[in-house]
């Protein structure tokens, strides 16, 4: 019953999405206010219906309704409640429903927060979002219905993949989707502006907070995924350049470029055409990621060819979105008037350079991800493109981005006085180099050029972010007045750029000075790692809710004193008979100690994998700072002024009428 209700709600959501797409778009082009007004109501109704549908699927999981095929395949009566709920988005069908739900949520948010927009513009935005919803909902209903029944129904389910029975995996997908799907708002704003011919700085100002929020979610989602991979996959890495990761990283890079070019469009009216193009690409890459992962094309081109239904559908959707929006762009681009004037040495130009570098990075990842697929499809041989390729392409592209991120905020718009600028930052530049050399020599190894360069760059980023803030603050009478007078955008930018510095420190130090030991230990023996000793006390058997585990009891000693207890597990999940390694981590701001159990050997001995990872937390800490920066900038007052002003006018009207 629940499943049928959910299915029905899903079909109704599709119909409502159709209404939301057709009427507002027609109304906006014909100038019929009543039709335009449909968008708002339909958007809210669609979200409500999707919420009902999603709740029904969650309820099927919670109630162990194994007559629903999707539940039977991904749940089990022994699965704890918490994971039964998160199992809802644990596989293809449910995660697509989550995608649709989040699309509904963003639509709802647009209807709620866009009171400052003109009716016509809002109608177009909601119309475009409705079109996207129609595509996704059709995809779910035609190829991936999560509510399909299974007759006869099995007694028990096949259980959720043990890898996903984890906190990180519970929140990673929703956050990532909030980012992916959130980019559809920026996309819809761009398309609406193209349709209406109103590419002005007001459009950029409306787009900015939405893009910033989506970008923040995307950042958080990627950070969560990386953190999960680190502690759950059991070999201590944090990024693998897996195509699945690349699929989330490409839209992030383009969205990062978009945030920066939107700033130039809003402030200076520059790069209008380019900004629109970025908004189109950012969302298209999100869809491309969906295609890559959902079609099975990544496993092998042949798997895709043997069951192409889902893949072809997304490919068609992608073709329509990319083709349609680029066609519209080609038609409208000649009418975009870009009157901004700037020179080689200006903030505009540096932002453009940042954009070119970020987009080149995204395009290179795309190239590396698709290249083996294309070669294979053309029968030119099978190759693998992995981390060595991406690392060697990425380093040279990101270095100038980091250096620019320090100096660009201090450049003047239009035309900068380079001599004066260099004079002003001379101490920051010298200081960061000195600090880089000093810290490398003191704590690490001065011959290590990578660390030296990385740390100096990190100091440069942090120092120049602080200095650029100081330059703004000191214009006021007192420091307090100066700090108070800065907008949240400025603080957001400072935080995010500090985040890069923190991130970079983590990458450089954990990359250069990690220690790994694989040893054979019998109880009582220990392994030395950096200045720690890790002692194995014993291994015991532990019973979990749906697994049995052997748990190692390790003690961490430093200079003979015990500082931590580590209990890594080797679990066997009873339904799928999967073995899982649960590493145990002693976290710290300057280092992680990481222990994983390997295989049991004779005489109670075990192979044990132990890592010392200096500063690895800084990687995710940096990511979180960037996210916070994005959120902070999105909360800037000036994005709300338009709507507030409007409300005052309306209430003023009412007051007059009342009097």
């Amino acid at each position: 019953m629940m499943a049928e209700l959910g299915h029905l709600a899903l079909i109704m959501a599709l119909l409502v999405a159709l209404l939301q797409a057709v009427f507002p778009l027609l109304g906006a082009s014909q100038g019929v206010p009543v039709w335009m007004a449909v968008g708002r109501a339909a958007g809210k109704a669609q979200f409500l219906l999707l919420a009902i549908s999603f709740t029904c699927l969650v309820a099927s999981f919670v109630n162990h309704d194994f007559s629903v095929r999707y539940v039977a395949e991904h749940s089990n009566s022994a699965l704890p409640l918490y994971y039964r709920i998160s199992a809802t988005w644990g596989a293809h069908e449910g995660s697509m429903l989550l995608w649709a739900l989040i699309m509904g949520l963003w639509t709802f948010a647009v209807t709620w927060f866009s009171r400052g927009l003109s009716e016509e513009f809002l109608a177009r935005v909601l119309g475009v979002m409705g079109l996207i919803s129609v595509g996704i909902l059709l995809f779910i209903l035609l190829t991936s219905n999560p509510f399909e029944r299974l007759m006869p129904s099995p007694v028990d389910g096949n259980d959720l993949n043990p890898l996903l029975q984890d906190f990180g995996m519970t929140i990673h997908p929703p956050m990532l989707y909030m980012g992916y799907v959130g980019l559809s708002v920026a996309f819809s704003f761009a398309i609406a502006a193209l349709l209406g011919g109103s590419l002005d700085s007001a459009w950029a100002r409306w787009s900015r907070p939405w893009t910033l929020v989506a970008w923040s979610f995307l950042t958080f989602g990627i950070v969560m995924g990386s953190w999960w991979a680190y502690y759950e996959l059991g070999w201590g890495g944090w990024w693998f350049w897996d195509p699945v990761e690349n699929a989330s990283f490409m839209p992030w890079l383009v969205a990062t470029a978009l945030i920066h070019s939107l700033a130039a469009t809003e402030k200076r009216g520059a790069f209008k055409a380019w900004t629109v193009l970025l908004a189109i690409f950012a969302f298209s890459l999100s869809l491309l990621g969906t295609f890559l992962v959902r079609s099975g094309v990544l496993t092998s081109v042949h798997a895709f060819a043997s069951d192409p239904k889902r893949g072809l559908f997304i490919l068609m959707l992608l073709a329509i979105v990319v083709g349609g929006s680029l066609l519209l762009y080609a038609l409208r681009a000649p009418t975009i008037r870009d009157t901004a004037r700037y020179t080689l040495l200006s903030k505009e130009n540096l932002l453009l350079l940042n954009n070119v570098l970020l987009v080149t990075a995204a395009a290179s990842i795309l190239l590396g991800t698709l290249y083996p697929l294309v070669l294979d499809a053309l029968k030119l041989g099978k190759i693998s493109v992995g981390s060595p390729y991406f690392a060697s392409v990425f380093g040279p592209l990101m270095t100038p981005v980091f250096l620019l991120a320090g100096i660009a905020p201090m450049f003047a718009w239009r035309e900068a006085d380079l001599g004066r600028l260099f004079w002003r930052i001379r101490w920051i530049a010298l200081g960061s180099l000195t600090l880089g050399v000093a810290t490398t020599a003191l704590f690490w190894n001065l011959k290590d050029i990578k660390t030296l360069a990385g740390l100096s760059t990190a100091f440069w980023l942090a120092g120049s972010a602080a200095f650029s803030l100081w330059n703004r603050v000191r214009l006021r009478g007192s420091a307090w007045a100066g700090l108070r007078s800065q907008s949240l955008s400025v603080y957001g930018m400072t935080l995010a750029h500090l985040g890069i510095a923190v991130f970079l420190t983590g990458v450089v130090l954990s990359g250069g000075y990690s220690e790994e030991k694989v040893v054979r230990l019998t109880p009582g023996e220990s392994v030395a790692l950096a200045d720690y000793a890790i002692v194995l006390k014993g291994v015991t058997e532990v019973q979990g809710p749906n697994y049995v585990a052997r748990e190692g009891d390790f003690r961490v000693l430093r200079k003979g004193r015990e500082t931590a207890e580590l209990k890594p597990q080797k679990r066997i999940y009873q339904v799928q008979r999967n073995t899982m390694t649960e590493a145990a981590i002693d976290p710290g701001l300057t280092r992680d100690l990481y222990v994983a159990l390997g295989e049991p050997l004779d005489q109670g001995a075990w192979t044990v994998r132990a890592y010392y990872k200096p500063f690895i937390r800084w990687i995710w800490l940096g990511g979180l700072l960037m996210m916070a920066g994005g959120a902070c900038a999105a909360a800037d007052r000036r994005y709300r002024i338009a709507s507030v002003a409007r409300e005052t006018v309306i209430s003023g009207d009412l007051a007059e009428r009342g009097a």
Binding site: S95, P173, A229, P243, L357, L367, E599, T607
Partner: protein, 150 residues
Amino acid sequence: MIRPLILLFWLLPLIAAAVEVREFDDTAKQERYERLIGELRCLVCQNQSLADSDADLAKDLRDEVYDIIQSGRSEEEAIRFLTDRYGDFVLYRPPLKSVTLLLWGGPLLILLSGIVFIWNQVKRRSSVARIDLTEEEQQRLERLKRNLEG
């Protein structure tokens, strides 16, 4: 053991717990060994390096690489040993060949076209005509600027 292929939208390289105890004559050899197995692909896994895989084949290949490095032969020899048997597919760092020319040259090409794009933009943007102001307007502008800065 090959794990079932799982495809998810989000990050999901497959799990692994490849743990063997290896002894080396010197640390340089160990570093070379570790770098190598990190750059070689496990052929039966979805997307894992030899270092990260617990498949039997990966274990055998690690043994081979270990023997080659430990006996003092070069990394190239280890790579040749594997590519002779399994082709370029085993290398995560694709070799530079005619078919991979575009792969290695692509990023540079994209970057260069980006820089050309910027150059053209700058030329166009810096030649956008300044609006000519009359004497009086010029003075007003100066006054406004002074007020802003003061």
